[in-house]
């Protein structure tokens, strides 16, 4: 993804590109763990 194309966010019916601040927060978001093997 280049600097001119940021992810889209939706607020009610409005869909727009993230602002620079929103994009920085998006990049810093924690990575959620995948569903792992059962612990038993």
């Amino acid at each position: 993804m280049d600097n001119n194309t940021k992810p889209l966010i939706q607020i009610d019916d409005l869909v727009r590109e993230m602002t620079d601040d929103e994009y920085a927060e998006y990049l810093a978001r924690p990575v959620t763990p995948p569903l792992g093997a059962a612990n038993e």
Partner: protein, 179 residues
């Protein structure tokens, strides 16, 4: 006069009867195409203390979590999701202590799309907000629940996929009648 749950066609319903309806649809929101988050505004108000949120029939570009955030709050979310793997019966879990959203409040995968169904307790009241719900994907299912340890009032919420984007489906918000 009709008495719930038995009604009679063409018979007027009294206010006292309608006031006993347990759950009301607050709003719906159709999800757009390829969005990295969906914020639903005006979902919570003084009209109801507790709410049900459902998001189904959406698709995602990744298998993973559907995380839930209240208003603009990005701290103090603690929750756990415990699930059983259908193929083995084994139990596993994921948790979150003081994080930036309720992680795995729901989930999505390529086969069956989005599943998120949670009850939210007191999001509009100036109290800590709890939630509980079912956790479902194609190969596992279980329970998810947690608490946002900030005593604040919220009107909006956001659903955020842990990876990838969301397309389509409808978010439903219901309010439980306070009685």
């Amino acid at each position: 006069m009709p008495t719930p749950p038995d009604f009679t066609a063409y018979t007027p319903l009294a206010a006292s009867t309608l006031n006993k309806v347990g759950m009301w649809l607050v709003k719906t929101q159709t999800v757009g195409s390829g969005v990295s988050s969906v914020t639903v505004t005006g979902a919570f108000s003084a009209d109801y203390d507790n709410y049900r949120i459902i998001y189904a029939n959406g698709t995602s570009s990744n298998t993973g979590s559907l995380n839930l955030r209240l208003g603009a709050a990005t701290t103090n979310y603690s929750n756990s999701t415990v699930y059983t793997v259908f193929a083995t019966g084994g139990v596993a879990s994921t948790f979150n202590n003081g994080g930036s959203s309720f992680v795995y409040a729901g989930a999505t995968d390529a086969t069956n799309g989005t599943f998120l169904t949670v009850d939210l307790f007191s999001p509009f009241l100036t109290r800590n907000t709890g939630y509980g719900g079912s956790f479902i994907v194609t190969d596992v299912a279980g329970h998810t629940g947690g608490i946002h340890k900030t005593a604040a009032s919220y009107t909006d919420f956001t659903i955020i996929p842990g990876a990838g984007t969301l397309t389509g489906g409808t978010i439903f918000v219901y309010g439980y009648n306070n009685g």
